[in-house]
Amino acid sequence: MKSKLVTLAEAAALIPSGSSLTIGGSIIRRSPVALVRELIRQGKDGFTVLAYPAGFTTDLLAGARAVDRVEAVYEGLFQFGFSYNFRAGVEEGRIDIRDFDEVTQASRFRAAAAGLPFAVTDALLGTGMAEHNPEQVKEISDPFTGRRLHAVPAAESDFTLLHGYTADEYGNVQFPIARDADDLDPVMAKAANRLIVTVEKIVPHSEILKTPNLTYIPHTWVEAIVEVPFGAHPLSCDGYYDEDEEHMAEYQGYARGGDFGAYLDKYVTGPADHAEYLDTALTAARMLGLSVR
């Protein structure tokens, strides 16, 4: 096994503008936010985002005018309200949105994970998603029964970006014994072509060896691993910290008020790196308040 440990800047530098990105986590939970901030900091744009429920990271990219296309099952910020940047992008015709239901989108990632070209679904029959996306939702018939179905392309992307809990330097990523499994991260990892994982903590390989059944992303799937404590902030990372309600309210204030450039200046392009971001966004007392460990 070789070390795949890189810095956040090095990981982001692997990703060219215009790439398609599968982004993990869910809405306001355990997404690789620090990595997405670093992509914006490096001036990257023109991305296509593939997600299960999209959420904060997609909205952040939309606010930076860095995303051209989104394929997902949901866009919003859950209890913090609408995804204003994304919504404006769609309403103004800047973002090409491709809606999918959860069953179909999960099937698309599983097809990619299995190395197959497409998935089969009967969830989209009669829907607007099928009507408005003939490029990706094609009618086929069951070769055995003749029943009407749809074929949808495997969710292939150039890069897959996930945020996890602990890993060793080789990229064996483990989850804590109790965690929230309301996402597709394990499937997305398997479906990845080039997988970059940020984690809360790098631990010695000897720690990983004690509980191999908690490894949900094995080292052979991983291209780069990055230690980024509070790497999902202002989102939650189950087992580590809760969502930062104060920051989210501030974020929504900028987004709703049409002054998102000021947010980007303050929290994304202003700070030179993740450490400076944490200095700007948090105090020690607030970090302890968010911690659930």
Partner: protein, 268 residues
């Protein structure tokens, strides 16, 4: 004598509970706050618990991503910390397990709502206006499409409002009875479609042949004229529409003392 000591939310809980059967597996989503929480989460949970306490002891609940969570210990807040530590019988390894349960046809009932609902029970949570250039982009599709494709008896739970109940949805996120008649099955969908629409003013079903939304009962606090005034289309109104059955004193007691003693479900 008819019981009159009940709230409108309690009436909706009881109406929903009566649609649930012993052995059902039901899906309940996560609401956000205020009235949206009460409709998406509070009333469905209370209805499922009431059914368990009365006629359906073997009913199972899948809430968000938790299968059979301990509903004696509903957290007061639903931030990540509380969701992660809430005692539950099962949390499957990732969401594609829940999706397989949906498409495999394991769910009997789901609770759904939308900003647009039409005469044939189609729902729109995706976009208002033209899809490609929407007047208002909404939230997408989530698993609502799948509920309507795969769940046997989806229940629509919402307040009756003219801007919600429209002749035709702008975008079909979730297929109810499509254009009515046999069009749902003709399109290749599995049999099913929404079974009831439970609102704050009336309860609706769908006509067996035409699949048009049909008034089944009107709540004692409302009237058929008020119901029609709050709809953008004319529903089928059979002769002699009854008053919605009132909750019994025992049902009200169970809701207040056993199911929601802390008052955290029926909040708005």
């Amino acid at each position: 004598m008819t019981n009159t000591d009940y709230s409108l939310n309690e009436l909706m809980v009881v109406a929903a509970a009566r649609e649930l059967r012993d052995g059902d597996l039901i899906f309940i989503g996560v609401g956000t706050a205020g009235r949206a929480f009460t409709l998406a989460c509070g009333i469905p949970i209370a209805a499922a618990r009431l059914a368990q306490e009365t006629h359906a002891p073997d009913l199972a609940i899948y809430w968000n991503n938790l299968l059979s969570p301990d509903l004696q210990q509903i957290p007061e807040r639903l931030t990540q910390r509380y969701l992660t530590t809430w005692p539950t019988a099962a949390q499957l390894h990732n969401c594609s397990d829940k999706n397989d349960m949906l498409s495999k046809g394991r769910f009997d009932v789901s609770f759904d709502s939308a900003p647009q609902i039409d005469r044939f029970g189609n729902l729109n949570i995706t976009a208002i206006g033209d899809y490609k250039h929407p007047k208002r982009r909404l939230i997408g599709a989530l698993a609502q499409t799948d509920h309507f494709a795969y769940v046997r008896r989806p229940l629509i739970l919402t307040d009756l409002k003219k801007r919600t109940f429209v002749e035709k949805v702008d975008f079909i996120t979730s297929v109810g009875y499509l254009d009515g008649g046999t069009s749902r099955v003709d399109a290749g969908l599995r049999p099913g479609g929404p079974s009831r629409v439970i609102t704050d003013k009336a309860i609706f079903g769908f006509d067996e042949e035409t699949k048009e939304m049909t008034v089944l009962s009107v709540h004692a606090s409302s009237s058929i004229d008020e119901v029609r005034a709050e709809m953008g289309f004319e529903p089928r109104i059979p002769a002699g529409v009854p008053v919605t059955a009132a909750p019994t004193p025992d049902e009200v007691r169970l809701i207040r003392e056993v199911i929601d003693p802390r008052g955290i479900l029926l909040v708005a």
